[in-house]
Symmetry: C2
Subunit: 131 residues, 2 copies
Amino acid sequence: MNIGEVANQAGVAPKTIRYYESVGLIPAATRRANGYRDYRTADLHTLRFIQRARALGFAVAEVEELLTLWRNKRRKSSAVKAMATAKIDEIDRKIAALQAMKRAIRYLTANCHGDTRPECPILDELAGGRA
Amino acid sequence: MNIGEVANQAGVAPKTIRYYESVGLIPAATRRANGYRDYRTADLHTLRFIQRARALGFAVAEVEELLTLWRNKRRKSSAVKAMATAKIDEIDRKIAALQAMKRAIRYLTANCHGDTRPECPILDELAGGRA
DNA sequence: CTTGACCTTCCAGTCACTGGAACCTTTATA
DNA sequence: TATAAAGGTTCCAGTGACTGGAAGGTCAAG
């Protein structure tokens, strides 16, 4: 399989695959006579695993850990679950931060007329508000 | 005021102030005889404005727009309100994405025993799941 | 024979800082 | 007075995870 083909099937960009190779997340692909990278089904599975883990918010370094766990037949499932729950906590913190921002902006906009006049409580609050 | 003093009062790092100057968000500060940057109360107000806007999730380029609007006495408050509501929408999209991740991870962890055994539905799903 | 779609490498840019080196100035203390 | 700590200065590099683009090689089709 060429890189474009495997990229398509895994749902990632060819450039991303080369990037993953460059940072050691995946081993260097074998090359054909013409220098093209050559992928096999196992590589596709790995890339799909990576794509899914990334989509769940795991950083590349964490995906590396997950891959190691995946390949380790003597792993403890508690290690995997710990990573998952830690990620949920991290996501919760991010959501909370975003919700706080949203609340603050909504509070500011509530009293803004949003018309052709210059008076604007949003700017007033940014300038000196207790917000 | 030295940079450390104004940084303290505005709630930003001295390095951040120099960075803002370097990217043109604030004008180059006047210098004292010894080469130190010298800030006045107006600069402090500007930096506080910037700090608050950044805390609300506005990018530096957006803060620049807000500053321009703030200084423009012939602005329309609708322009400010539009930026605020656009930012709320952006935050909403981020929250939704994070919540989707969280749901997916929680779904995966639900069936994981999290003990000393290797069997792990989280890895199973990442490997080939319909997740 | 050429066009277009692939592939290759390498460098630079994104965003908003932050760390660190190497150096100078001011202030406080022994 | 010496010196050390705390502050200031500049400049360069790194962060994360790609992405864009240049410059070039390869391959399949018309």
